[in-house]
């Protein structure tokens, strides 16, 4: 999970607004990094920026915008405005992604994208996140942060303790079936059967 450690300040009780603001700062830093680098370094930094933007906007769209729509009276309008900004930025991002980082048009287009994205992030923080925070119970905001982190988690680097040998074995099919039956039996025993 080395990649997750980058932000540093991550905490279990962090709420979703703190988490997304931290990502906004990471985005700001990465724009500066792309700008400062050249050649292969710029390509590499740009790759990280694009990935973070895709992950960040996906999480907002999945978890935060739907909640904001319900959370305060003008929520629908505020979110629709943010989605429009995200769509516009996505078009510039898509254009930029098809360009070589050494292309003379790359830097001007990147700067235009940066201005759009940072203005969008600022609108989110002022118009959406603050109001979401005012109108949502703190434990729900912490839940939402958990959801965002889950949606960004890397695949585990340690094997499942019980399946190390089974997964490589030709007996996998029957093994999985046995586990399904076990689960069903436990569910029934606990009165959770549908």
């Amino acid at each position: 999970m080395a990649e997750r450690a980058r932000g540093g300040a991550e905490r279990a009780d962090e709420d979703v607004v703190q988490l997304l603001k931290r990502q906004h700062q990471e985005i700001r830093d990465l724009f500066a990094e792309v700008e400062a680098a050249s050649g292969q370094g710029r390509r590499e930094a740009f790759g990280r920026l694009v990935r973070l933007l895709a992950v960040h906007e996906t999480a907002e769209e999945e978890v935060v915008h739907p909640a904001a729509r319900r959370a305060f009276p003008s929520g629908d309008k505020v979110v629709d405005d943010r989605l429009r900004e995200e769509r516009e930025a996505k078009e510039v991002l898509s254009e930029l992604d098809g360009m070589d980082t050494d292309d003379p048009d790359f830097m001007p287009t990147l700067m235009a994208l940066r201005d759009d994205i940072l203005a969008h992030a600022d609108s989110e923080e002022r118009l959406e996140f603050e109001r979401l925070r005012e109108s949502t119970e703190p434990h729900k905001l912490v839940r939402m942060a958990k959801a965002v982190r889950a949606a960004e988690a890397m695949a585990p680097t340690h094997p499942h303790p019980g399946t190390e040998s089974a997964a490589r074995s030709i007996l996998l099919g029957p093994f999985a079936a046995v586990m399904d039956r076990t689960r069903d039996a436990v569910r029934k025993a606990m009165g959770h059967d549908k």
Partner: protein, 178 residues
């Protein structure tokens, strides 16, 4: 939205994005392919393990791993030389049924809508109005980013593995002529 299924979801997503990697050399395509695969896998995992208890049990018993999927697709597991430990480790968290259901959702809008509706109020959502837009309403850029993952013929063998269970789980209301 419980963190419990996270390793299963992350590993199954990784298996799908590697098995159906588009070979796009930009940075955006792979990121969007992963984002939609993850949303499909999340919806599928919530449907398969709808309660906290279901999730806890599969985390104890183990999701089964990618053994049969690797064999089915001839995925890179069969690469020359034994796979190293790290490469093997994440594959033990792959859930074959969830992977199969996820490609069903990515290739059939009706199943995607039905599944999103079915999991909207499940325990994992914790009452939050979660939206899997890249699965239920993919835009042009999403589609272009995952041409293999969204190609019904290419994912047919995987989808066919457990589609019948998916239809059964969703109930006959949502079953279309397959």
């Amino acid at each position: 939205m419980s963190a419990d299924l996270t390793p299963l979801i992350a590993a199954t997503t990784q298996w799908l994005t590697r098995a159906y990697a588009p070979g796009d050399d930009g940075a955006l395509g792979p990121a969007l392919a992963e984002a939609q695969a993850r949303q499909a896998v999340t919806a599928a995992a919530w449907l398969r393990y709808p309660t906290e208890l279901d999730a806890a049990l599969v985390m104890i018993s183990g999701p089964g791993g990618s053994g049969r999927l690797d064999w089915l697709t001839g995925a890179d597991c069969a690469a020359p030389g034994a796979p190293d430990e790290a490469e093997h480790a994440w594959r033990t968290w792959v859930d074959e049924v969830v992977a199969s259901w996820a490609v069903c959702l990515l290739t059939d809008p009706d199943l995607a809508d039905a599944t999103a509706a079915a999991v909207a109020d499940c325990e994992h959502a914790f009452g939050l109005p979660v939206r899997f837009r890249r699965v239920t309403a993919p835009d042009e850029r999403d589609r272009r980013a995952a041409p293999l993952l969204r190609h019904p013929d290419l994912v047919a063998p995987l989808a066919a593995l457990h589609r019948a269970d998916l239809l059964e789980r969703l109930g006959t209301d949502h079953v279309r002529a397959a």
